[in-house]
Symmetry: C2
Subunit: 316 residues, 2 copies
């Protein structure tokens, strides 16, 4: 049992109302891997330059994340994203994107990374996602993320990728864009008709929701009074979700497993946004995760004290 | 036990992607009253012109809503709102507002309407809300709604009104605007510091959430595949919420009662948007309400199949 994630490993330069940070460790695969590492063995498939140093490697080591498939290209630079969030913290404005080594990323996975029981295809070019999917024949649960850029520029390839995965994790605007359907419930149904049996819809500050054959599940966001930096929330959500699922060692997780996984996803997302980049995940403890999972339970539970005595329209 | 609602009773002319309707029965007090009538006796305090005919009165009669305090002004016209919703159905664009009789609305409540155990001050001028509040000395649970227009133009009066109520029901943009706080959890805390012990935050297609002394409760929206007309969703939510609370006959409803009430609110809101104006509420049945309440329970329940075995950062 293990989770393999393929995606960006990057330096991020971030501006939010709470401050600025230069070159913090980030990238989708980083956030995913740190979150998933609380539940499962994790292999990162990615590429960095030789500006990626011992400090960065130590972050993965501290969480026992396997980076044998993280290629280091001598004389080259790592992917570097610069972004700014305005006061409402919902939309990232990209200031600069330097793909660097990531521009030619086309991984050949090691036998160990290929043998994972769970695979997450983070937001990269859909053709690449498909090639990685084909290398991981043993994966029993496969998830995919994407973004507006690929939906516009590589729609057909993305739809082919969707046909080869079990779970699609997109935000609500992306689900609407991909399906051309403004109503979310219809859009999620269309998405599931492309192949995935689970549509996980991330809704930023509103939480997330999940559409499956068994129905609809709504997951609140944790009501944080301070969101320092939203970067990595979606990937940490995915890390919690797929990490927990992998730990169950069940090739066909049932509805209750998917729901608990989604709550763990929201728990992990709620932590990452408390500090810049992956800094909060780096110091997160298993007790904090367990405690917040219980808080989510409390946030969602209700019981009628007295059953409603509903009145018909003919009563006086 | 009874609920008194004060607010607009109106004709609405509506345009949505699903069609156009002219002069359908609407207004905040109408939607609230029809929703609340499934749980409690309801008195409507409002004003209409003599264009308000037998067909309109029959709608209230069919739900046993008491309209003794609905003043009819001879030779005058009822409030008439015209609005349009674009494809995403989240924002109403006002095309025309004719206040008519509503411009001089300043009700003197009948002894019966004053004696209600529950009072809802729908979205009207805050000074008027306060005067009605003062007339209903026996009300044990009092709620208030408002809108961006009053937050901008009558902020001080609105804050005085907030000091005299138990529950404030606003949408998230209004909560942020009133408190000047972009973070919703902080904004809700500030709102509660103004007096109300319960902050009910309506979030449109994302559902609603509730902040109380005991904590945070998140209520999903029902995942409808077709939303025909969002008009009245917030007032129907309030009608279900306060109607159910009133039926409990508890002067100080506990957290579990407030949570169940919020779910009934979301249930009622999920019906009203299925058709234009109040048409869906007019043909709603108690079995449909009970059935959808159970669906909400299913949408929110989760149980770990196996407790997560969380890994510390020192494990191998």
């Amino acid at each position: 049992m293990a989770v393999t994630v393929v995606g960006s490993v990057a330096f991020d330069s971030l501006e939010t109302p709470f401050g600025k940070r230069e070159r913090v460790l980030g990238g989708a695969a980083t956030h995913f891997a740190l979150a998933a590492s609380f539940f499962a063995d994790v292999n990162v498939v990615g590429v960095v330059g030789d500006d990626f140093g011992e400090d960065e490697l130590a972050v993965y080591a501290a969480r026992s994340v396997n980076i044998d498939d993280l290629e280091r290209v001598p004389g080259a630079k790592s992917f570097h994203w610069s972004g700014r969030y305005a006061e409402d913290m919902t939309v990232a404005h990209t200031l600069n994107t330097q793909l660097n080594v990531f521009a030619d990323f086309d991984p050949e996975l090691s036998p160990h990374a290929r043998s994972a029981s769970t695979l997450f295809l983070a937001n990269i070019q859909p053709e690449l996602q498909l090639r990685v999917r084909e290398q991981c024949r043993d994966a029993r649960v496969v998830g995919v993320d994407s973004m507006n850029f690929w939906i516009e520029s590589a729609r057909d390839a993305l739809i082919r990728t969707m046909g080869e995965v079990d779970v699609v994790a997109l935000n609500d605007a992306e689900v609407r864009m991909l399906t051309g359907e403004p109503n979310l419930a219809r859009a999620a149904r269309r998405l599931r008709e492309l192949g995935p049996r689970v549509a996980l819809v991330k809704q930023g500050p509103y939480g997330a929701c999940m559409f499956t054959a068994e129905g609809y599940f709504s997951i609140p966001a944790y009501p944080l009074e301070t969101v320092v930096d939203p970067t990595g929330a979606g990937d940490s959500f995915a890390g919690g979700f797929f990490g927990y699922l992998d730990s169950l060692d069940d090739p066909n997780p049932a509805e209750n497993a998917l729901r608990a996984a989604a709550v763990y996803g929201s728990v992990l997302a709620s932590f990452v946004v408390e500090d810049f980049g992956s800094e909060r995940l780096q110091r997160l403890t298993e007790d904090e995760i367990a405690g917040r999972f219980d808080e989510f339970r409390q946030m969602m539970v209700f019981e009628e004290p007295v059953a409603a005595r509903l009145r018909s329209s003919t009563s006086a």
